[in-house]
Amino acid sequence: MEPIETDLLVIGAGPGGYVCAIRAGQLGVSTVIVERNRPGGTCLNVGCIPSKALIHVAEQFHIARLQARDGGALGISVSDPRIDLAAAVDWKDGIVSRLNSGVAGLLKKAGVKSIQGEARFIDGKTVMIRSEMGEQRLTARRIVIATGSRPVELPDLPFGGAILSSTQALALTAVPRTLAVVGGGYIGLEIGMAFAKLGAKVTIVEAEARILPQYDTDLTKPVAERLKELGVRVMTGARAGGHAKGRLNVETGGGSERIAAEKVLVTVGRTPGFDGLGLDELSLAMSGPFLRIDEQCRTSMRDVFAIGDVTGEPMLAHRAMAQGEMVAAIAAGRPGGWDKACIPAICFTDPEIVTAGLDPEAARAAGHAVRTASFPFRANGRAMTLGAETGFVRVVAREDNHLILGLQAVGAGMAELAAAFSALIEMGARLEDVAETIHAHPTQGEALQEAALAALGHPLHI
């Protein structure tokens, strides 16, 4: 086929890649995007979006079951709720395909040429694209590697059959009676909790001393308590061995145990998706398993950029999107550089955890004298009306000028506070700015203002 020449080639149409391509197209850069699967990447197809759909289904079903069991405190009665997971998965797939075609439409609207196929580097300016149409050579002035990541496999538990990656877990059409989740990070807990609510007997197997080890214990305690309420067994300091005949071998400090597990979900991390890319041709500088980048997302090779999960932690869609947008601007000849003050992170467990900026320990480690305060939802009216009094909002600020360094929260629906958190930090807000802003009543967001007031020594509602 005819070779193609373009200004910008984006390899991978996940959140980083498609945002990069759309923005580049809007800025008048001739852009080609290559994706081997459907557009949207892990996030849209097998990650953020489908898992949130499943979590929603599970929560609705869980509430219905509670109401059926004891009528609930709300006075609603329901009889014999049932879950048809296949139907729920259809609903989820409907959302995913709407978003798939949405992304494809946006790319088209921005004048981006989309190719479904696999790209393989020939050199730093040239890739060979293999698609159903055959092989096609493509030369680009600039290339963006945005090929994302895939779940890490354990040698004793290769994916397939009863052993599920997060992708396969989100495609189950029946709720397993027993489910073991190997890896108590946010992915494992989000999906594990959802299946517990759908009726599975869930066991979490975590190698570290506690679940969600990247968060401080104040933030994870409400999640641990909820797991207990849901009847989820949490085994910490435990290593999973092999799986046979519906049982998973687990080594703990006290010996080994065989736990019932019709299915085993392995969520022990993600590794960059370089397979088939021919990166060896470029010998790019690495940072551990990831591509090393500078503050403009440039790799060690001129005009080869990398964005998203291939560049390492935090592996978050919104980080990849911001990187993609920045690289598009650079490709259009505009100045650009990474200057974000924070990358918020959300853990969609029950309750949800949201963090932005520095936690108290990190702030101290960065050499700041800090003041920190939190406000609990048990003193928040809106939280009471939602029956969700667990959790708190916490603020971390500099002692000297009260600049807000970090905001964290755990509680129901906290994910939506992420917008406020990151805006405050990016704007360089101080405690006084939050304390003197009207926060609408009754909302859970009032806890943010109260936390700032508490940090200033004069809370109102506690």
């Binding site: 100045p335 009260h402 704007m427 360089g428 006084e432």
Partner: protein, 431 residues
Amino acid sequence: MGEFTIKLPDVGEGIAEAELTAWHVKVGDIVREDDIIAEVMTEKAAVEIPTEVTGKVIWLGGEPGEMLAIGSDLARIEVEGEGNRPGAQAAAGAKTPREPPEQPATKAPEPAPPEPGAKSDPDAGPDAAPRPLPRPAARRREGERPLAAPSVRRRARDAGADLRQVMGSGPAGRITHDDLSAFLEHGPSHDGPTRQPDMSVSEERIIGLRKRIAERMALSKSRIPHITIVEEIDMTDVETLRARLNADHSGTRGKLTVLPFLMLAIADAVAEQPAINAHFDDEAGILRKSGGVHVGIATQTGGGLVVPVVRHVEALTLWEAGAELARLAQSARESRAGRDELKGSTITITSLGPMGAIATTPIINYPEVAIVGVNKMQMRPVWDGSGFVPRRMMNISSAFDHRVIDGWDAAVFVQKLKTLLETPALLFVKG
């Protein structure tokens, strides 16, 4: 409940008053017997004052920097049972027990505790000290990222401006659009962006040890006409000997520095010139020549300069002098030196070690008549008659009270030190 008054004890012979330098407690604190409540400073030394009783502090008798007469009331403690102020007790018993009666002074010494959060509030309200005119810019610590809203960052990037060079006038030093506009219009000052005039003046009360040092220095420099002699000394042989001694014995006897050699040299030199190891009582018109050679060693401590004294150097061996010197320097730095260890010197050595420069003009420790300043030792080329050879050279800068020491005598003394140190065997071969 009774009241117990702690009086400022007699902290040194012949002293009528002492300067209060620090409180270790505040009104309302609970103290236990023997807790340190205050520090005072006399001409001789810093002294910590303990409480003799257990109870609650209800009154403090002054502010740091004030002079207090020996025997005056230092603090009052509310105690269980009877105190030592029966009048107060009766009054206290009759009226509200918590409020100490009389004493209009009770309110003055202790400033009201700050409002919660107000202490470090950068926008402190009307009760804060008046703020100076807004500074043109807030300083950031080196390497601290500039604080600016995303729109300001984008505009700076588009304009090619480096925000690290822009001063922020907003809260917490935030860079506003106006700051950026001003920067784009006027550019950074030609000195570079981080060089700003600093109009601030901060006041510090000179109290305690610092005040004592100030008074002593003024006394010495105003009364004594100094004559200073700088001489260079070839320390190569001392250094060879010292290295050998340290290699053989430092494990068991401690490490020798240059100073013990100098101390022994001074002891030998003043044996021939007793007028140099003396106190000049200029009011009585008497020069008191001392038989004992008590060498003060000017020592830098966290609180300032102190001069611990190595006594009777004329009777010490090299190792004894070294060990005593090390012990005193250590206790001075840890503020443990006793009052007796900080007085009575008859001649003083001052040394800044590697910072010692090539010459100094030391100030005599009044009422002594001589001080020996040690300068930096370094390898220098020395002409030996046929070529330059590297020698370890060190200058000593010595000052003398010219009222009682003539230039000739001073020069003889310095030459004696030079001879002894350049041929250190002479220090150990007597007669």
